[in-house]
């Protein structure tokens, strides 16, 4: 994915310095790093939170509206939800 894609945090992964979470990305569970977020954002992140993911990294925390907006952008480029990854 050459652009940011929304995901929803499912759980934090034990170990790895607390830097990994499992996120639901369009129905697939993906392990992604939260190392690009600042300490406060990392500490606050939990199940149900929406994030934007880029190359395996969470790059920004967003709300549901922000995630929907990002998804809409992908759909405008011909990436229907079921095939985007």
């Amino acid at each position: 994915m050459c652009l940011g894609i929304p995901g929803r945090v499912v759980e934090r992964v034990e170990g790895f310095g607390g830097q990994l979470v499992v996120a639901d990305v369009l129905g697939s569970a993906k392990r992604v790093s939260i190392g690009m977020l600042d300490d406060a954002e990392q500490a606050a992140l939990g199940p149900g939170d929406w994030v934007l993911i880029h190359m395996g990294f969470v790059v920004q925390c967003v709300d549901a509206a922000g995630a929907e907006k990002a998804m809409t952008g992908l759909e405008l480029m011909g990436q229907p939800r079921e095939s985007a990854q």
């Binding site: 050459c2 652009l3 600042d38 880029h54 790059v59 990002a70 992908l74």
Partner: protein, 238 residues
């Protein structure tokens, strides 16, 4: 259909990593099937809009025209036919909101996507991305290198790394790195590179052997974008 093959050489590295484009990166290694490559290329949601914009500027119907593809990945005179401000307007309408994108006016060149649309420059500047964000920028940008040695399907190349010093992105002193030019006998640049040749690098791959003028063009266009990115950051900082 040589443009399709050129596209494949540069697009394969991030595609096989799962970062860009659809599944099935191996099709990009099959230079004998340009139609299949073209089908694959149309689903690169980041690169394809640039190719369409450049094709329109060139007055050609095919975004995989060789001159169009080469303008995007390496650089050529076609880049000067796209107004930087109009480019930003069109890309913003096509890509929508992108985290930490600077949207500074720039060229319809791959370096624009890396340094103005991707979040990594913003994350470097924010300070949370650190070395990891800089590393992504370094591998994601198309850069030149000089082949020092060839060992099987890998080469040792000398190249100048991206650095972030005093709030500015630039190039550091040359250093040596390894890159692949083939996988399982399937060659990406069309032929094995040789010691002393200049090559284009993307992620940890040799995409293509470059002539001196092509390498200079890639470096010039990349430096242009870095300058625009640095100027945009300085302006934003007030």
């Amino acid at each position: 259909m040589t443009g399709a093959v050129t596209f494949a050489r540069y697009a394969y590295p991030p595609n096989q990593l799962g970062y860009c484009g659809p599944d099935g990166s191996s099709v990009l290694l099959d230079a004998a099937s340009p139609e299949a490559i073209a089908d694959h290329a149309r689903r690169f949601e980041g690169a394809w809009p640039y190719l369409e914009i450049l094709a329109r500027a060139a007055g050609v119907d095919d975004p995989l025209d060789e001159r169009v593809v080469r303008a995007y990945w390496v650089g050529n005179e076609l880049l000067d036919e796209v107004d930087p401000g109009a480019l930003v307007t069109e890309l913003r309408s096509r890509f929508g909101e992108q985290p930490y994108a600077s949207w500074v006016p720039g060229l319809a060149h791959h370096s624009y996507h890396v340094f103005a649309v991707y979040p990594w420059v913003g994350l470097v500047r924010r300070g949370t991305g650190g070395a990891a964000a800089l590393s992504v920028l370094e591998k994601c940008r198309i850069r030149t290198g000089e082949v020092l040695a060839v060992d099987g399907e890998t080469v040792t190349v000398r190249s100048r790394p991206l650095v972030h010093v005093a709030g500015r992105l630039g190039l550091g002193e040359p250093r040596d790195e390894s890159a692949a030019w083939a996988a399982g006998g399937r060659c990406l640049p069309g032929r094995p590179p040789e010691a002393g040749e200049l090559v284009a690098l993307h992620w940890d791959w040799v995409c293509e052997v470059l002539g001196v003028e092509q390498a200079a063009e890639l470096e010039r266009r990349s430096a242009d974008q870095l300058g625009r990115t640095n100027a945009g950051a300085a302006e934003a900082a007030g």
